[in-house]
Symmetry: none
Subunit: 202 residues, 4 copies
């Protein structure tokens, strides 16, 4: 099944468009972004966008999806690369924060979608939700493993997994909101520490 030249071009265009869409949606948000903007950044004509995607909505969904895929890949490999439960959790948090630190555009997009309730573009998020759930599940497995090994006290693992996701997202938000927020590693350590020990005095 040889990839034709057409395939290559298609892939290239698709990729350029998504990259552009990312940037534009991240900068301006869904409504303020215009097809014109995206086309310009992508280096194609406005009409071309419609050869690859059916609508603005579709481009947004695709951009968001790619964003989620990349993040998921990152966190998955972080989990795989770490040894014990404690390290896995720390690695997870670190991976997420580092990823966002490096790809602020991605984060802005991700944040627009996950930090809040959906209104209207709801439908677009189907696949994205699955990726989100995949992350939750992966983290949940780690937690369950920790509970079984008595490293973690008995807790509602799914709820905690989500709380960890939320906390890291919130932290990333804050880091972008307030530039000069301090050392990233400190924040990672802080988030992990809080997660792990809570605030109560022993």
């Amino acid at each position: 099944m040889p990839r034709t030249k057409k395939d290559v071009v298609t892939e290239f265009r698709t990729s350029e468009i998504l990259r552009a869409a990312h940037r534009v949606f991240a900068e301006r948000g869904f409504e303020q972004a215009t097809m014109e903007d995206i086309a310009k950044v992508a280096g194609v004509a406005k009409g071309t966008l419609y050869l690859y995607y059916a609508s603005k909505q579709d481009i947004y969904a695709a951009a968001l999806h790619r964003c989620a895929v990349e993040l998921t890949a990152r966190t998955s490999s972080a989990l795989d690369g770490a040894a014990g439960v404690e390290d896995k959790i720390r690695a997870f948090i670190a991976a997420k924060l580092r990823f966002f630190e490096e790809h602020r555009d991605f984060f802005r997009l991700y944040d627009q979608e996950f930090g809040r309730l959906p209104h209207r573009h709801g439908a677009k998020g189907r696949h994205v939700d699955e990726l989100y759930l995949a992350q939750v599940t992966a983290l949940e497995h780690v937690l369950q493993q920790g509970v079984r090994g008595r490293v973690i006290r008995p807790i509602r693992t799914q709820a905690v997994a989500r709380a960890i996701l939320d906390m890291s997202r919130s932290l990333a938000t804050r880091r972008l909101r307030e530039p000069g927020h301090g050392d990233l590693e400190d924040d990672i350590a802080f988030a992990f520490d809080l997660t792990w020990k809570g605030i109560g005095h022993r």
Copy 2:
């Protein structure tokens, strides 16, 4: 200083418009909401909106502000009404979650603004930011008190205060995202427990 009838009417209109704006902005988001929508829900003509607010932006800002004020009032009195440090924190989390549970529209609006990075309507949020900071500070004082009394271990109180705010917002988001999410009191207990003890086994 007798309030004239005019004042009453003005107040009534203002209030009706804000109520309507709340609903519409919450349902559709800033961009998708139309002045027409708001007017219809408020039961007035489009032009009337402009007798009370100078622009769509202004209405949004006012609605958001009212939202923040009400929430802040709620959490403040929760803090005041609780006795010890532990109770205060629990009360704070509970107040926030209950408030949002009761006023879903408020939350949707609040969430649109606080759960994410600002793009453009940034300027509108000046006062709102102050209210947010007031909450952070109030909670921070409680935490400092706890640290001094050795009820709470030595931590970066501001960062933790923010983390608590974020966690409760995230939880509220999830509750609205997924209806039938379970008992509210359970979630409150969970959030507090996690905050207080962390996940680590002692």
Copy 3:
């Protein structure tokens, strides 16, 4: 037929409204002037305007009419007060220029209407046209008298009368357009001289 108090009030209001209308229309032109503006300057409420005039159009027409009446009165008495033909013409030109110099608002209004072709408010001008014609006729009589007395060469008196009106209006326009235009008396002398002798060398 004793004038009731009502009549006095009516007259006062009418007058105030027209004065205000003058100023506002002169400053902003018909379309840019708002009823709100006029009401504010007149010191009455917007609704009150409609008790005295049926529409914005009507106010405009009335203001214009008053303007024309005052100007006509001025030029008429100038003609009456001067002795010979030559003096009458000079006095006419002088009266017009001086009047506009003193009442720039009037001129702006007058100019908006007479310096140009009518488009839409055409109907309003009926009475005003009559006043304009009255001026033409008055001046024409003087010219005819001059022709009969051989002081003026045989010419189409009506056309010349209009030309004189136009020239003085144009001069006034230029004086307002370009502040610091020079001495008024010089311009009067110039206009008369040009009118009287033409530019040809004898």
Copy 4:
């Protein structure tokens, strides 16, 4: 430098839009003219107007400018084509009146702008003012030449140049105001005669 087909289309559209704008602005004036009207007359959709001009103001300015350019071209070539001072002046007046007679729309537009004081759209007229001044200057040179050659008596040439411009504009206004005004050539002769000889008996 081959003109592409695109250039041709662009030029055509631009021209059609200006032609339409001319007509509409001439008929209704700036404020009463709507973009809808212009689009309809131009045979394009409303949005298309904005592909060629940034705003209603811009279209107006462009239409006015074209109007002034065409008139200036006409009067310039009239001056060039005539021999002596006397003929040049007559040719100038004739050119202006004939031009307006043939292009009534142009005149209506021109008149709206030049016969009166500017209020607000003032800024638009920069280039147009230059063209006006160019006319004044051209005519002034002729007058100066006449003065030097003793064909014209010593006069303030600039003021007279302006007076001639004004008189011809006024005459054109009158011709359009009152249809059936009589033979154009008669009016030209009259205007020149009056200008040249004045009204005084020799």
